[in-house]
Every structure is written in structure tokens, then in C-alpha cells.
Subunit: 227 residues, 4 copies
């Protein structure tokens, strides 16, 4: 992979200009290709997806894909970049650590529900490219790090204020959250035998994390109460 993601036709955002010809189905070709690719990459994996398949899904030919992207890797990179830009990984507003954490969970939940595919792409690609060191992989790693760091920071703040308490370090908690979250998503993605609504479980995860952190009643009866 050597996807630099530059020197590509401008297009991209020109989707609302030039409304006259409705043939290209409204949305710019690049976007349609990205969407198709995203879907297939998540469904079958990067390697198992052929350029031809992606093209056909948009009623185009391989050549068209290569007109817009320099390579398969570049296509993936563009998608990851898109995901990265949309991803809400910052620390949200909130009166205190607890509120911030709740908000964070809420934002994440919303995103996971609205765009599960984006999330799955990150998970799957990070697995498929485990021992690779491409630019794309680094972007994915960065997203994960941001997510994990966000939690760690909030927890740190909470611990200092005495609002949170846990035998686990804040970094560990960050990692724990990310890991468990990914696990839930994966379970759901795999065909979720037991859980029709993976979401449900993700919420359970969040509730349990919140109560596990509560310094005061440290769990009371409230442990793991789903929202």
C-alpha cells in the first residue's frame, strides 16, 4: 500500500452542483464507489473484495474505479479518511466527568447505531492489516487511540475530583471500553446468535462501566442496569 490520497480529481464535494443530469444517481461517482466499497469490504473483507465487484455494484467498469482512485489501497484509504473525519472522538461538553462520560457514550452510541458499517470497517481493517504498517493502518490506529484516550482523560479527571474510582488505571479503562465495545460490535456483525440487538449489549456495557466507576456507592444495586 502506498496510498497517499492526493492528486485525485477534485470532485468529491461537488455533489450538489450541476443538478441537471440525474443519471449518475444524484450522488457523485466517487461517493457511490466509496459506499459500495465500504459495504463490500465490511461484508467480505478487503482482500476478498474485487475491484470488479465494487465497480459492478455501481454499474460501472473496473476502469472507472481506476479513473477515480489510484489503487485498491487508495480506495480504502479514502474511505478510512472519510470515516476519520466523521468520527466523533473528541471529549464532549459536560458539567462534570460523569456527565462527560455519559455524553461520550451517548455520542458514540448514536454513531454506532447510525453508521455501524463505519465502525465495523475500522475493526475489520485493523484485524486484516494487523502486521502491516501502511498509512491507512496508521489512520485507523489513530482513531482507536483517540477513542481510548478520550475515555482515559475523562476518567482521570473524575478520579482527581473523587467522582470516579477504580482499581484499573484510566488507560486500562480506556482500553477496556474500546475492546469490549469492539467485541460487542463484532458479535453482532458475525451474525449475532444470541443478540438480535447488539446495541442492547453495548448499552449494557456502558451502564456497567459507569456504575463500576462510581466512587460513592461503588455499585450498590445499580451495577449493570441497562438504560
Amino acid at each position: 500500500m502506498k496510498a497517499e490520497a492526493n492528486a485525485r480529481p477534485p470532485v468529491r464535494l461537488a455533489s450538489m452542483v450541476n443538478k441537471r443530469r440525474a443519471e449518475p444517481s444524484q450522488q457523485a461517482t466517487v461517493d457511490r464507489l466509496c459506499d459500495a466499497a465500504l459495504e463490500l469490504f465490511v461484508k467480505k473483507g478487503y482482500r476478498a473484495t474485487t475491484i470488479d465487484e465494487i465497480a459492478r455494484r455501481v454499474r460501472l467498469t473496473k476502469g472507472a474505479v481506476y479513473y477515480h482512485f489510484r489503487s485498491k489501497a487508495d480506495l480504502l484509504d479514502t474511505i478510512v479518511e472519510r470515516v476519520r473525519n466523521e468520527y466523533p472522538c473528541g471529549i464532549p461538553e459536560g458539567d462534570g466527568p460523569r456527565e462527560k462520560l455519559v455524553n461520550f457514550f451517548h455520542t458514540q452510541a448514536k454513531w454506532a447505531i447510525e453508521r455501524p458499517t463505519n465502525l465495523l470497517l475500522m475493526i475489520l481493517m485493523s484485524v486484516e492489516f494487523k502486521d502491516t504498517k501502511s498509512a491507512t493502518k496508521l489512520k485507523i490506529d489513530a482513531i482507536y487511540a483517540d477513542m481510548s484516550d478520550a475515555i482515559a482523560k475523562i476518567v482521570d479527571e473524575g478520579k482527581e475530583l473523587g467522582v470516579f474510582s477504580s482499581p484499573l488505571s484510566s488507560r486500562q479503562l480506556g482500553a477496556f471500553y474500546v475492546a469490549a465495545h469492539d467485541g460487542m460490535m463484532l458479535e453482532w456483525y458475525r451474525g449475532g446468535r444470541k443478540l438480535q440487538k447488539g446495541v442492547e449489549l453495548v448499552q449494557a456495557l456502558r451502564t456497567s462501566m459507569l456504575s463500576a466507576l462510581s466512587a460513592a456507592d461503588a455499585g450498590g444495586k445499580s451495577t449493570a442496569t441497562p438504560t
Copy 2:
């Protein structure tokens, strides 16, 4: 994948016959091939691993692999079969639900630590073959189901006895455990930025689950205390 049948050349079970030469002959080769394949499948994924690579790792040639296995899929299937047979997915002995759960976690932990690769293979293959329906995939699914069911059963028992209590159904709890567990393993496998010892987190998961289930004292301060 199309390796459904089980009738494979001779070898396989002829391990104790023909003992004259104890060298790397016979069954040994099959095992060495499986070991090499397992390692590579986990490291690079099934598709990304070539038969040639597997063979070379054991100082053999492609042909040798095809002497022992009908196809690449068959090789994988054999490995999965092996894992399945070794896997401790039954409900363990124990005086009560709580003890059983502790024992279950303990057994699982031991296995995860001793043979992380086996566990990872399950996870990775279940992802890579998500939308496939091969015999191998079914085996993997079965293992997951067993694991999840085991927990569900113990929890059910505990709930009936009033030892456990949770707003989540026992099936959900089973799925939750499996999912979170997989997530931890994956995070670790991916190069775990934050957690050097994925194991540590897995233990945290177990402790927190136990305390989350505790009906009576609900764990007091004990929530999420690593063993």
C-alpha cells in the same frame, strides 16, 4: 470453502501403528503442518496465507500438504476440529453457581493464556468467514454457542437459586461475556496499544461480571477488582 466430507487419505489416525521410526514421519507431519498453518492463519489471515508458505515453514513442498489434506479448507477444518476437541467448553464441577462460574472462568483463563492462538483462530476465522456457511464455520459457531450456553446455564441456575441477579437475561449475559472476551483478545492481538497484558483486562472482565451478578451484597466495594 467446500471441505465438507471427512474421509481423508490414510494417515490421520494411524499414529500408533508402524512405530519403527519415531522420526518426523507419519502423524507428526500432519501435526507440524497444522501448527504452522495455525500460526500463519492467525498471523496473516486465512486468505493471505499461501499453501506454499505453510509448507516451506515445515521444510516441505506444496505437494506434501496436498498429500495430507484435500485442500486448504480441509487443512483449516482439521485445525478447527483439533481446537474444538481441546476446548474446555463444558460446565465445570462446583458446589454452587458461583463456584461453577469461578471455575468456568478459571478454566477459560488458563486456556486463553496457554493457547491464545487457538482462541484467536476462532475469533479471526469467524470474522473472515462471516457470510460463509461451510462445515468449518458451523464448527466454529458451535464452539461459540457452547461457551455462551455454558454461562447462560450457570446464570440461570444461579438466578433460580437467588444467588445471581441481573437485569440482563442469562442469554444476554452469555453473549456479553463472549463478546467482551473476544474484544479483549482482539485488542491484545492487534498490538494492543494500551494493554501489554491483555490477560489483565480479561481478568478485570471476569471479576466485574461476577460482582455484577451478585444478588445479595452485590459486591460492595469489590466491583471490578482484578484477581
Copy 3:
């Protein structure tokens, strides 16, 4: 190659019509494209040069090339035509055969020095299209034939007048000259390890040919007597 016809869009000769804008419009573009193509064809070969490359070099797009030329082959053909028209392959003035030969060499030398690229194009294309039989190839062959014939004629005249003498036939001498000349150019083009000034050698070639032809010592030490 299949560019046989000569009927090409409008442009081409419309160079003096429509003078309003003297900018790089009109004929200019065709010339710029030819120049760029010539340079690239000589540098990388015909096949190895892409239309896109040629267009980019002139800050245009592929489409523009196809507006002016029917095909890549047609572009080459146009260039070859241009070269052919400029090429000084006729027999020059001169009091006698010797003077004519000297003049011929002089004209050729001047051209080779001023437009080495033109010469190289002939050489390289004649090699690259060896077993092709396109119109373009025929043009190139014709140029070579003219050159060779010119010498042969002069030599013939000289032999008749007793000014020249050689064991080689005049046709052979023509071919010999052309071949050696091409060889020198090629050597220079290839990066000429030993000869910084390929020209120098070409001059040596000419001098040696002249003296080899001199009737005086003609049979003498038998210059150029084939074994």
C-alpha cells in the same frame, strides 16, 4: 498501427486563418504536441510512452490529443511526416563526385547536430516497428532508402569518372554509411560510455569513408577488402 488515411479533422493547415489570438491556439497546439511526443518517443520508446504523458507535458489532457490526432499511431505518423519533409536527403550541388560527397556529409552532419532527436526517432522507430508494415514504417524506410541511394549515386558517378574506387559496390557503400552512421548515433544515445561527443566519431566515419574511396591508392593496401 493502423493510421493509413491522411484525412484528419480540420486544424492542421489552418494556421494562418483566424489570426485574432496569437496565443498557443490553433496550429501551435499540434506542434507542441508533436514536439512533446517526439521527445518522449525518443526518450522512452513509442510503446512505453502514454498519450497521457504527452498531453500532460503540454498542460493538456488526453482528450485534446484525440481532438488533433486520430490515434497514437497517427500522432507518430505526423511526426515522421514532419521529419521527412525537413530531411535533406537529396544529392547536393558540387563540381564533382568528391565535392558532392563532402557536401552531402556536411549537410547531414549539420542536421544531425541540430536535430539529433529527429534522427534518433527514425532509428528507434525503425527498430521498434521492425516487423510491422504500417504506412509510417514505409515512410521511415523511404527516408533510409533515399539516404542510402544518394550515396550510392554519388559513388557510382565517382567510380565512372575514375575518382572513386572501392571493392565494395556502391549500394554496399551506401548501406555501410547509413549503418555505421546509425550505430554512432545509437552509441551516443545510449549514454555513450566512451564517447562524449558522438559527433566526433561520426566525423571520423566520414573522413575514413572519403579516404577509403580515394582512387589514388585505391587498390593499394587494399583498404576495405572483404576477407
Copy 4:
């Protein structure tokens, strides 16, 4: 190009062992492939020749080619290597410089006549890969350098002994010979309009060079005095 030419099945020289099966047409596959490739590379050029074509010519499939060679470039490299090993570029025995030169010419002539294709490959590849810097190109350059150096050395020796004399430096003479020689071969290869027997001309070249070098009248009519 990244042809290292190592780590390939041994084969190569095992052509006389194992005579039983006459199917592979006696000669080892690798050799047959090299021969076919050589012929095609010379006929159509490296780029214009497809692997498929080469394979078909030997009644094999592309796959077979890739079993024996790591890439198209590697195939070429192997051929060039073969040529290099067969090439008689050393300075031959001889009582004096003149004899050595005659012998050198003789050896070269023999080779050129027996294996014109080998010679042509060198010429054509050196043109096609002009601005490349691959290992293969270096090998070709080396052969050329050897040839040119051999002449230079002999001439140097001759000049010191007073047997040869020329206004051109010995390096220039070496280059001159190589260049002219290549030119003759090329002319012949291109379909040689005027010369059915390119060889004839090459001989003329040699004779003329010899006499041009003769010290006797050396300065005399100043054969080969650059203008």
C-alpha cells in the same frame, strides 16, 4: 526490474541427465523458455512480447513460466546472463597486436554469424532500457564495455610497438568499432534493404579498420583524420 536471478530451481544444466522421457523435447524447459523468449524479445521487443506468447510458443501456459522465473524481468535477466557467459569478449592469443586484432575480429565474426540473435538482444535491450538502471542493464553495459576495452587494449599495445597509428585515441577506436558493428547488425536486422548479407558489411568494417590502423603510411593520406 528487480531480477536477482537467484533462488530458482536448480534445473538449468540437468539437460543430459534423465534421458528417459523425451516429451519435454529433450531440452530442459528453462532452456526452451529462454530460447523462445530470446527469439520473441528480439523480434518484437521486450515490452511488446507477452509472457503468454512466450509460453504458448513452448506449448505451455503462463503459469509454467512463472514456475521457472520470478518475473518477466527475471526471464530476460537469465537470458542476458546466459549470453554474457557465452560471449567471447576476452583478448585472444596472438603473436602481435595485429594478429590479436585479426583474431578478435574473427572470433567476434564467428559468434555474430552463429548467434546473431544474442548480439541483437544486447543491442535492442540496451536501446529499450536506455534510461533504466536495472541489474540487467548493467550486465549489458558491462558486455559492451568489455568489447570496447578489448579493442582499446590491443590498439594501445599496437601503438606502443609502433605497429598501429591513428589520430583517434584507442578508446575512441574501441567505441567506433562497437558502434559501427552494432549499426551493421541493426541494418541487417531491420530487414536490410541493401544488404542480404549483413555479415559482408561487418567484414568490410573490419578490413577497413585494420588498414586504417596500419602504421606504415599511417599519417600518409591521413586515413580517418577528423575534420
